[in-house]
């Protein structure tokens, strides 16, 4: 169905492409420094939690947000773009929802 891009979400760091791919792979191997459990929480709460807590990880580290509100799937990458952080990737999780990974840029 066209309302949901299935599987893993595209990375926000698409340009320049080759560089971004290398970067994504490097970060994917690195475990998340912090996991925020926003399962069951409606938007904008998952984003508020992310904005509140991203500064708890070191510069360049990855925060993973677990969320099942469909809005979070679009809104967390959009937040990254607006706030100049990097959306690393989004993956479906077994219990429903997504693990959405964000790298702190500043």
């Amino acid at each position: 169905m066209w309302r949901r891009r299935s599987g893993a979400g595209r990375s926000e760091t698409e340009e320049p492409r080759a560089e971004a791919r290398a970067e994504t792979q490097a970060v994917t191997r690195e475990p998340a420094a912090l996991t925020i459990d926003a399962l069951g929480r409606k938007c904008p709460i998952p984003i508020i939690m992310l904005a509140d807590q991203i500064n708890q990880v070191p510069m360049g580290a990855v925060v993973e947000v677990l969320a099942d509100d469909p809005a979070a799937y679009t809104d967390i990458p959009a937040w990254c773009r607006l706030k100049s952080h990097a959306h690393v990737d989004s993956a479906e999780i077994p219990q429903g929802g997504w693990a959405i990974r964000v790298r702190r840029n500043y």
């Binding site: 169905m1 066209w2 309302r3 409606k42 938007c43 904008p44 709460i45 984003i47 508020i48 904005a51 509100d69 469909p70 809005a71 679009t74 809104d75 990458p77 959009a78 937040w79 607006l82």
Partner: protein, 380 residues
């Protein structure tokens, strides 16, 4: 109340009100019958058809009236697909079409057809190249594209899409709901749909135009009304009123262009001022290639429903594509396809004749309302 939701429905045009009241007395009889009152109703109906056809750039016998814009789209999409069943079962649509197109496509898919959704840019513009490629696939029965987006105002590349469809020999359905009665309409289409209450006519009147030579077969049981294309007894008074509103809106091209320019400048003011007055706001949609009356923005860390409720309490009627305000609990498929913020979304759409003061009052009230909602969620 300051009404800023014209994209949902335009207030009834005074010319439509007058025509409606007159036609309730003179156009109530069954236009399919042969006595005097019936012939009067039929004359009114055919005059309205000729007037609407003239504005759409169609022949009167290509135009039928439906019960709504949504029904016009359902009939247009499914009828055109039916008519080309033997040629193919592939349907191409833009990712940000109105839900009526999406639901018709879903129906087509359930019936064993295939649907290809062409993506949009960050501003909501359908990728014209990808659209052209999609319609050129063998077995494509129909393509659908809106003139302008109902949620974010972005204009679509209809001319390019029409050229691609023509080259591929595929009919194009143009959904003109947001631009009919506002902007000059494209001429190159096979099927065109519109909705009267979006241009200041009454609710309950949709328009379905099917070009001569376009294969079309009704998805409904047979009915003799409206050239066998739309079922049921026509609402003649409402149709007469719809045509009167359209004539009044489009009759004076210079006046219409001036009003469009005025509304567009007010939209530009909202686009500029909202990010200046409210922190953490994203204005979405194309800043230039857009409809004159629609502007949409999203406020970070704000729940859309809370925002609409507070704006309503302050006397402003606006709408939102945020999930919590919709019946589905899904975010707007338009914002989702664009990859922009879906929460805290506000669509402001300006009715004809809206005052500058109303827009300024909205801009004055918004910052404090957003600040209060954010504070209630612990965001400062």
């Amino acid at each position: 109340m300051v009404y800023l939701d014209a994209a949902s429905t335009e207030p009834l045009h005074p010319a439509a009100r007058d025509a409606l009241l007159a036609a309730l007395d003179s156009g109530w009889a069954d236009p399919a019958r042969l006595y005097g009152a019936a012939r009067r109703a039929q004359m009114l109906l055919e005059q309205a058809r000729a007037d609407v056809a003239d504005v759409l750039g169609a022949r009167p016998d290509e135009v039928v009236f439906t019960a709504s814009g949504t029904q016009a789209v359902h009939l247009g999409v499914l009828g055109a697909l039916n008519g080309r069943r033997r040629i193919g079962r592939h349907l191409v649509i833009g990712a940000v079409e109105h839900s009526s197109v999406l639901h018709a496509a879903e129906e087509h898919e359930h019936g064993g057809g295939t649907v290809e959704v062409v993506g949009v840019s960050r501003t909501g513009e359908v990728d014209a190249e990808a659209f052209a490629e999609a319609v050129s696939r063998p077995g494509t029965a129909l393509a659908c594209l809106q003139t302008g987006n109902h949620e974010v105002g972005t204009l679509q590349p209809v001319e390019e899409a029409a050229a691609a469809c023509r080259a591929a020999g595929v009919p194009l359905l143009v959904d003109a709901a947001q631009s009919a009665g506002r902007l000059p309409l494209p001429r190159d289409w096979s099927v065109l749909t519109a909705s009267a209450h979006k241009w200041g006519g009454p609710a309950g009147v949709g328009v379905l135009a099917v070009r001569k030579g376009t294969r079309w077969r009704s998805p409904y049981p047979q009915d003799e009304r409206e050239r066998r294309r739309a079922p049921g007894f026509e609402n003649v008074p409402a149709i007469v009123a719809a045509a009167a509103a359209l004539r009044a809106r489009t009759g004076d091209a210079a006046a219409q262009a001036a009003e469009n320019a005025r509304l567009s400048a007010l939209v530009e003011r909202v686009r500029t001022e909202v990010p200046r007055l409210v922190p953490d706001v994203e204005v979405v949609g194309d800043p230039v290639r857009r409809l004159p009356h629609i502007v949409t923005f999203s406020c970070l860390y704000v729940e859309g429903e809370a925002l609409l409720t507070e704006l309503d309490r302050a006397g402003f009627a606006v709408s939102s594509g945020s999930s919590c305000t919709a019946s589905t609990l899904r975010p707007s498929h338009v914002l989702e396809a664009m990859g922009v913020l879906t929460h805290g979304n506000v669509r402001v759409s300006l009715p004809q004749g809206v005052s500058e003061g109303d827009v300024d009052r909205f801009l004055a009230a918004l910052p404090d309302i957003v600040r209060r909602i954010r504070a209630s969620l612990g965001v400062h």
